[in-house]
């Protein structure tokens, strides 16, 4: 029978752990904010790489008077530090200026396009995971066989194909020649298929490799041999015990991949005219729409930070050992 003191002691232990966990999350959040702040500064640097953006904004065919008018209007006649200062001040409450092309707030332009890219990435990741998990498991169960080795090579080859190459060939085959799927834009759920394929294919080998490695670790351990001798079927063992172990590095890898994809879909989005962040960035770079470029960089950086933070949280849920105050 636990005494009150025991109860109190137990609770205080949990409180202690919870407090440490909270501090850990808080610390990660603070780091994240710092990273975002750094990204905001970097976004300014990128667009000022080749001098004053006022000289190139809006692109072609502007007379000197018109250009000067625009420079004055948009404040590019001020010294660099002053511009940086006002940019940072604006960014602090979400004001990244207005898009030169449409007059909308730059942040809104980016955020409107963001869900389309997120959807595309989500589908690509989902497809890659759905393919990678059974392939990895099969690979482990049949490891060492000729079939396994050759299928690994084939898979690696599939992952070595450049995503833009896959994209243009898919478009030519499935859209133009066979008219099965829409060629561009986001008009129907079918529009998702080809861009998803183009993005997912290079991901699959990376996922398989990681899962396979993690699974192999577990499968080699003694306790699995013991379990096996008790008659559990191979598949059950591999699936349950091993996958759990593979989850931690897998989740972290996932977060990194998604983060990378957030800014890495430019070429595929251009080829499919997909209305996502990649297209927005490409348009903005072509039109020298400085405000939009800056907003896009910051939004993607935020996404990356949030994803990593989410991955950290998920990891601590999966693996309680991490939760007990272990500092990075």
């Amino acid at each position: 029978m636990s005494t009150l003191a025991d109860l109190a002691g137990l609770e205080s232990g949990e409180h202690e752990a919870a407090r440490r966990y909270g501090r850990y999350i808080g610390w990660r959040l603070a780091q994240g904010l710092l990273v975002v702040a750094g990204a905001v500064v970097v976004s300014f640097l990128i667009t000022n790489l080749s001098g004053n953006p006022g000289q190139v904004i809006g692109g072609s065919f502007l007379s000197p008077q018109q250009r000067q008018q625009i420079i004055d209007q948009l404040g590019y006649n001020r010294p660099v530090l002053q511009r940086l200062g006002s940019y940072l001040a604006g960014a602090a409450h979400g004001d990244f200026g207005t898009s030169y092309q449409t007059g909308e707030p730059a942040l809104r332009v980016v955020l409107t396009a963001l869900p389309n890219t997120v959807l595309l990435i989500g589908c690509a990741i989902a497809l890659a995971v759905v393919v990678a998990v059974p392939v990895a498991m099969l690979s482990v169960l049949r490891r060492g066989s000729a079939g396994d080795r050759s299928s690994r090579v084939v898979m690696m080859l599939a992952g070595a194909l450049p995503d833009f190459w896959i994209a243009i060939i898919l478009v030519r085959l499935l859209s133009v020649n066979l008219s099965w799927l829409p060629a561009i834009g986001f008009t129907s759920p079918q529009s998702l298929i080809m861009p998803t394929l183009a993005l997912a294919l290079p991901l699959i080998p990376a996922f398989v490799r990681l899962l396979r490695g993690a699974l192999l670790d577990v499968v080699g351990q003694d306790f699995v041999t013991v379990l096996r001798s008790k008659g559990f079927r191979d598949r059950f063992i591999v699936a349950h015990q091993a996958l759990r172990n593979a989850m931690v590095p897998f989740v972290t890898l996932l977060a990194m991949q998604i983060g990378w994809l957030l800014g890495g879909t430019i070429i595929v989005e251009v080829i499919f005219a997909w209305p996502g962040i990649g297209s927005v960035i490409n348009n903005a770079v072509q039109a020298r729409d400085v405000a939009v470029i800056q907003a896009a960089v910051v939004v993607v950086a935020c996404g990356y930070v949030l994803l990593n933070l989410a991955a950290d949280v998920v990891v601590t849920v999966i693996d309680p050992r991490v939760r007990s105050g272990a500092r990075p």
């Binding site: 008077q65 859209s175 060629a183 297209s279 348009n283």
Partner: protein, 548 residues
Amino acid sequence: MPELAHHPADVGAATAVAERPGGATRRQFVWRAAGSLLAAGPLGGLLSACGADTPTSTASASAKPPKTPTGTVTVALPGAPNSLDAARRAGVGAFWATINLYDTLMAWSPGYTKVVPQLLTGWTASPDLTEWTGQIRPGVEFHDGTPLDSAAIRANFEYFLANSDFLFVPLPIKTIDDSRPDAIRFVFDAPYVDFTRNLTLLGMQSPKSISAGPSAIDQHPVGSGPFEFVSQTQSLIQLKAFPRYWNKGKPHVAKLNYQIIEDPGARISALQAGEINVVPKVDPSQASALAHGARTKIAAAPSWLVTYLNFKLVVPSVSDIRVRQAVAHAIDRQALLKALGFGYGTVVDSFEVPGIVGYQVVNPSYGYDPAKAKALIKQVGKKISLRIAIVAGDANAGFLAGESAAQAIAGMLGDVGITATVDALQDATFNANQLSPNPAVDALWLVDQPWFTGGPVLYGVTVPVFDLQKADPASWARYSALSAQMSQTPDGPARDVVIGKLQDLEASLCLSLPLFTMPQIDGLGKDVQGYVPDKRNFGPRFDDVYLG
């Protein structure tokens, strides 16, 4: 191989071309024939390469225009417009998107043969061409309900004058008289010969819009054209039929959308997949596939665009005329066209093309003569290496002024001993450097230049001419004198003579090398009827277009 020049001449338009006496160059007679065919041709204006496709005329159209506007037409734009403001629009994207938004005082006839009143009903000019009066069409209103009157037109011109470098169209206006609401009178500083022609570029917008300011215009432009503005995003501009358009019964389409698809391959794919209806200026390599496609067809017409290789005289490597002549002789234009043109296009030996005032063959013209080129280079004595500038990407450049052509030209120059590399510049840099006096910029400029007013306005502003003042003041003096004379001489034989002298001077100085002209080939969905391509690549009007 299909070629426009060989189209059957049964049209009876065997008009003789004004050939320069003593000019040892090929006849452009078939060009005139083709041009006349178009002028007399069906409203459909669908001219395809001979023997290959089924040309469509209104007589054989499968459907008639609908009674009320129906359907949506989507046009693919190669690049985002810089602005939708009539006074600031520049470049292909901006013009295509706004040509149906704004009407102009004068406009080109459907065959692009003459200039006819649009927002006016008629005009008169004083004999010395210093005064010009237009009768304003009654009953016209802008999309926001403001009526069109002389005060509105005056407001527009004052707005244009505030942006006086607009498209290099001069506006030497002394006074604008709007005392009578139904007529507008201009008084010029000096006789303005080309005013009527130049008016085709000046879109009229609502005075209320103008007073609201440029940002308001950019976000919601207001004109008096057959379509009015609905909305705009990063990749899509939406217009809809204007119910109170002055030309009753037009347009026939309910919605007109402009989808920005930067990637040329994506544009073609989208057309073939049926997702868009119109692709402007299709690469000739795709024209045949589109012409035979299940869902697609092409509309082709001789254009007013000429591809030039311009020399920047201030750059030391080409400041010597012998180098320029060597470059001219080194280029095998026929072979180039054969490899890149896929059967379309013609080599030109003139600065202009038929249909442009003063069109005539140029003397001297530089033929393909690599031996002569090598000899000239040897004479010069030093090693020549230069850069050829092109516009990166596809937004404003034609493909014959693009990467492949430039690489091919670089190869040909290499064959005669000139080291050439291709420099792809972004739009803004390209335009800035083209006019820059900096001797470190690129020496050769491959440009696709449109004679967008149908007249000689470009003579004042071609790239090489800018440099001439600095590089060769004596020739510049002669040039300026001729140029001034030309802009004062009304259209007619006398003007043609002056233009001839001007072109010959340019050719003898080897300031610019005309290469070829490519027809305007637009890709269409099979159900698009009534479409006439715009020779200027500024965007066709959709007044008569319908889906059927």
